[in-house]
């Protein structure tokens, strides 16, 4: 009897297991035959990991992920044109979350709220509140899935500063002092003089994010809802003032301690200099940390410290447009008298789905973005510098082991994650622009005037006047009231 019972139970479990496996297999291959066309920037950064994870996803579900790429500066235009004209050759775009507002304004993005609500694998609560509530949502709807968290930070060479007896700069003025002291020293032992400061300043690339990072602590003192771009009553640009002039002056001055070709350096050029050990100070997103531990390319493993972006002891008086000293009232979030406003530059690479895609494609595309974002995948991806992904999940900040396994020393990992945490948790964090026309406000007007100022074609005053006039034109074109409403909403102002 026992033998019979055991046999029956074995057969029963076997049958159940087989049925379960079949069901899983059927479930896993439920997207067989579906192709998802995804557009993003060129790899290996961002696109490379999407391709690799896409192959994994295809093996699991049958959905084929075709990753195409265009240069960063063309990405928004390609997506907008494809989706607005009804070409619809692209199903998924992976781009800056700030650009999504204009796409959402044209009803071009699929609403992912229901998918997210019914997706326990995404573990929504593990995504840091800023990215969960701000980066992914527009007007209360989840339209994006975050796969990368972006803050610009300050990086410094610990060995170089130790040798000089200097501490990491807390203000932009101190930054210049440290850069001046380090400039011209050989920092990688190759006998060639190296640079005190490295920043990417090429036009039509991403240099305009740096000037916003620099300007933020001069402009914003009262918390994230104050913003750094516009007056929240009139939508008039808040750029033609002493705060932005100080930021421009700093940006130009830093060039004295940078490589001679800095004006033509894109982010890739600067990172190559940084990892080859040629820079004492640098301003960048979170990528430098993981890139520094890649022994095949880096000469600065465990020699790089990270900190929240430097701040300022003088801040903008919004009434007069003048810089005034920080005090407890003006700078309620200041630390030791220094006002910091860590800038969430770019917001992070995020995936959005074409609203006009086939419903089955939308579902499969969501599953893929969810797969990319789930902790099982992303907690590893963010530790690999070449992927271009930076941490945005709480578990990525709290669990240090993956970082140590990736090659960080425990001390470096704690320092790196601490710097991001300080930025993310700052009550005075500066939010990136998220209104229709963001690409034109920043990528065309701000970028062009910044380039002209750096090239000496215009003075700081002329550049700021031109930015103000250019931004006003765009605001008028899109409609002032609508823009103001969107801007306030982007800062979390609901009234």
């Amino acid at each position: 009897m026992k033998i019979v019972t055991k046999s029956v139970l074995t057969a029963l479990f076997g049958a159940v297991a087989l049925t379960g496996a079949t069901a899983v297999a059927q479930a896993q291959k439920m997207y067989e035959g579906i192709e998802i066309n995804l557009l993003t920037r060129p790899g290996p950064v961002i696109a490379g990991r999407l391709e690799e994870r896409g192959k994994e996803f295809e093996a699991m579900t049958g959905a084929k992920i075709n990753v195409a790429s265009v240069p960063f500066a063309d990405l928004f235009q390609k997506l907008l044109t494809d989706w607005a004209t009804g070409t619809n050759s692209i199903d998924v775009g992976v781009f800056a979350s700030g650009w999504a507002v204009e796409l959402a304004d044209g009803d071009l993005l699929a609403d992912l709220s229901d998918f997210v609500a019914n997706d326990p694998d995404l573990d929504l609560d593990d995504i840091a509140p800023y990215f969960r509530e701000f980066n992914q949502k527009i007007n209360g709807k989840t339209l994006l899935i975050t796969i990368d968290g972006d803050f610009q930070m300050l990086y410094y060479r610990t060995d170089v500063l130790d040798e000089l007896g200097l501490k990491p700069p807390k203000t932009w003025d101190e930054y210049l002092e440290v850069a001046a002291a380090a400039h011209g020293k050989d920092m990688n032992g190759d006998g060639v003089k190296d640079f005190g400061s490295c920043m990417f300043k090429k036009r039509n690339a991403q240099s305009f994010y740096a000037i916003m990072s620099i300007a933020a602590p001069f402009v914003q003192t009262q918390g994230t809802s104050q913003g750094i771009f516009f007056n929240i009553e009139t939508m008039k640009p808040m750029v033609n003032n002493e705060a932005w002039a100080a930021a421009l002056a700093f940006f130009k001055e830093s060039g004295k301690y940078g490589p001679p070709e800095e004006l033509n350096h894109d982010i890739g050029d600067t990172r190559a200099l940084v990892t080859s050990g040629r820079c004492a100070l640098m301003l960048d997103w979170g990528d430098i940390g993981p890139l520094s531990i890649d022994e095949t390319t880096s000469k600065i493993k465990d020699l790089v410290g990270a900190s929240i972006l430097p701040g300022s002891t003088k801040v903008l008086d919004w009434e007069s447009g003048k810089l005034v000293p920080c005090d407890a009232k003006r700078c309620p979030h200041a630390i030791d008298g220094v006002n910091h406003a860590p800038f969430a530059a770019f917001g992070g690479w995020s995936g959005a789905i074409n609203a006009k895609a086939d419903p089955k494609v939308i579902e499969a595309a969501y599953k893929f973005l969810s797969y990319m974002s789930q902790a099982a995948q992303s907690n590893y991806d963010v530790t690999q510098g070449w992927t271009g992904y930076n941490p945005y999940r709480i578990s990525q900040f709290e669990t240090i082991e993956p970082w140590v396994e990736a090659g960080f020393s425990r001390e470096s990992a704690e320092n790196y994650l601490g710097a991001i945490g300080d930025s993310l948790n700052s009550p005075n964090m500066a939010s990136d622009m998220r209104i229709p026309g963001t690409q034109r406000y920043q990528g065309i007007i701000l970028d062009r005037e910044l380039a002209r100022f750096l090239a000496g074609e215009v003075t700081a005053e002329q550049a700021l006047e031109n930015i103000e006039a250019g931004w006003e034109e765009i605001t008028e074109e899109f409609g002032r009231d609508g823009q103001l409403s969107m801007y306030k909403s982007s800062l979390g102002i609901t009234n």
Binding site: G106, L108, N204, P260, E261, N264, G456
Partner: protein, 366 residues
Amino acid sequence: MPSVFSEWLDRQSRHLFIMPAVIMILVFSIFPLIASAILALSRVRLRAGGYKVTFVGFANFKKQIFGSEQFHFLGTFGSISLLAWAFTIAVGALLIWWLLRYLRGPVWWLGLIGRLIAAAVLFGIAFMFAATLLSGTQIGTLGVTLFYVFVGCTVQFAIGLGLAVVCAQPIRGRTFFRVVFFLPLMITPIGIGYAFRMLADTTKGPFAPLWQMVGLGDYAWVTSPWAARFFIIVADSWQWIPFIFVVLLAALENVPRDMVEAGHVDGASHSQIFREITWPQIAPVAATVILIRVIEAFKLVDLPNIMTAGGPGIATESMTLHAFFAWRAPDLGQSAAISYLLLFVTVVLCVSFFNLVILKHRSAQG
């Protein structure tokens, strides 16, 4: 009945045969021209389901010529220097003299209109350069484009002609050099752009040790406006000299040998033979090759985009790149307006060159 149809077909055959070509031109040339003209007069916003087009008249052109984009297109106008005024007046006087000289002869109304347009454009361009370059302010994308066209084409023509003259001589290894000189034309402009960007990099490019050895390690070509413009012309010339070289070499080899030999027998020097025999023979081909090259140079976009992204500032931005950046914004109205302005300048200058240089030369030859 069949005979009636055949007769009808015969009568219509000239129309039917030409119809495919007409349709092709309408679809691929005329329609895009009309569509872009509509865009140039509109503000276009992409939205779900298509475009929202708002007619704005000439506002896009006004913005480029008189409005907030004037500095970008024409340059930065400030106080005009004495030298600039003198130059402008001299050019104006020259153009008036040229028009008066035409009016003294037999006048054809279409020729007069063409000359008036050409004179107005030339005067406008002269004034633009006077008010910007000669007054110490920045030139805009129109000035940069004209710099690429005239300086670039002059350099390319001079070197291309020189190489062609050398390779037309009976020297050893000339076939090898003909192939070598022709190679750059085969390479994609994107590759040339990246190659020259690397060559110009004084800190980590292949010539970095050389630059450092001669004391240029701290100098960056691409951060100085004029150095950057010249370096783009160097790259452009490297690509296009072979084209001029090949065409002129073919022309040189068609110069009748008996005329050249007769010149030698008569004791003429090499320079006299070139001036009196060779040049008149190759001049029509040279004029055509210049015309083709000028039209092509007006459209320069890839090299400045790759080498400098239009920088430093807007120093190396050509009009085509200007239109491309506007299109990418996406500001389709401005982009189309800039494209039409480029078309206008190109057509006026090239048609003037054709009518006043090439046709005049042909009619002089009889």
